[in-house]
């Protein structure tokens, strides 16, 4: 079984890499958006939650719950969003969330958190 086929569940001992987290987050976004969801393959690091995916803030709350279920208490999306300025929330990209997840799980490179605006 390859890592990309791993079923949802607790975070494995081997830390996930960037591609894996991106794929997982794309899956969670599709779940939140339901009928309005794009093809998960079209969700890339530069995809914007607002401009591109048209997520409303309540959708971000739903996403937060899914992230916590998937990654546990280590990933606190509410706290992460709370730390951003309103302009940064409006311009939030999928890549920045991926970086945040990797950083929270302790697997991000030093400069990871700042790569995506």
């Amino acid at each position: 079984m390859t890592t990309s086929e791993r079923p949802p569940g607790p975070v494995p001992l081997a830390p996930p890499d960037e591609e894996q987290v991106l794929a997982e987050i794309a899956g969670l976004i599709v779940e939140v958006l339901g009928d309005y969801a794009p093809d998960p393959a079209d969700i890339r690091p530069e995809t914007l939650f607002g401009d591109d995916l048209e997520l409303e803030s309540i959708d971000l709350v739903m996403l937060s719950g899914h992230l916590q279920e998937r990654y546990g208490e280590q990933v606190n999306f509410a706290e992460f969003v709370a730390s951003l300025e309103i302009d940064e929330v409006i311009a939030l990209s999928v890549g920045r969330l991926v970086d945040h997840v990797l950083h929270s799980l302790g697997t991000a490179p030093e400069a990871g958190a700042a790569r995506w605006s």
């Binding site: 607002g50 401009d51 048209e54 409303e56 803030s57 309540i58 971000l60 709350v61 739903m62 937060s64 719950g65 916590q68 208490e73 509410a78 706290e79 969003v81 709370a82 309103i86 302009d87 929330v89 409006i90 311009a91």
Partner: protein
Amino acid sequence: MVMIRANGLGLHVQRLRPPHRRPDATVVFVHGAFIDSLASYYFTLGPRFAEAGFDAVMYDLRGHGRSERPPSGYALEDFTADLDALLDELGIAHPVHLVGNSFGGTVALDFVVHRPERVATVTVVESGPASRAWSHTMTSALRHAGDMGDDEALVWFTEQYGTLSSTRTGDARHDAHIRRLGRAAARLVRATTIAEDMPTGRVLTDEQLGGVRCPVLLVNGQEGLVAAESARLRSLLAHCRVAVVPGQKHSVLVEASDAVGRLALDWVREHAGAAPEPSGPGPVR
């Protein structure tokens, strides 16, 4: 996602319960109408209060966010009855600290008048009580909203909300954000009788407001919408303080959440007796 059946409706609830919370210290957050949802608290005051040891209850008003959207029943008293029933369903019998933003503040004030035994303190952000003047303003503002076509309603709501924000306008991304909010509001108006119901709900008399005994904090943006109404309310209420956040408009909760959070938390702590136990490093769920 937790849905609680209350007053005949499914209400979406998010609750942050710190492991070492102070007993009987519950804060219930009530959001604004049309464009708002519990998200305005989930990413701002909710975690802040939970970290300070409070049980933070956030819910989507009927028709908003992920709560059920009935076709009718959007008078103020419906929202108050929802809150009353929600507290019952959650098993919260002790008086709670209410925080209400915009229309949520109007709900909070209506609630404290009609269910005073259930409220310890009220924090009202950019809002006031339902009064005849409020009703008149709402009637004028919403008169044509229900009859508008999609595009027209979108433009109207976008214009309304554009003037309420103190963040820069003219920025393409910010404008697109406002348009998305406007579109959500237009959907609500089109699908329900909220535009007719809201202005025709019950109002509070000066005598009723004068009878409120619990402490009420009014938090306003310096360039917000309710300065005159706050002055009137302050003269009526037995225990009231007004705080103004400089440089902010009506959207002060979301656009200056640090300042509003500090004011609200200090106010609740001041009236909640001894300081809550710190929650420690553990999770706040």
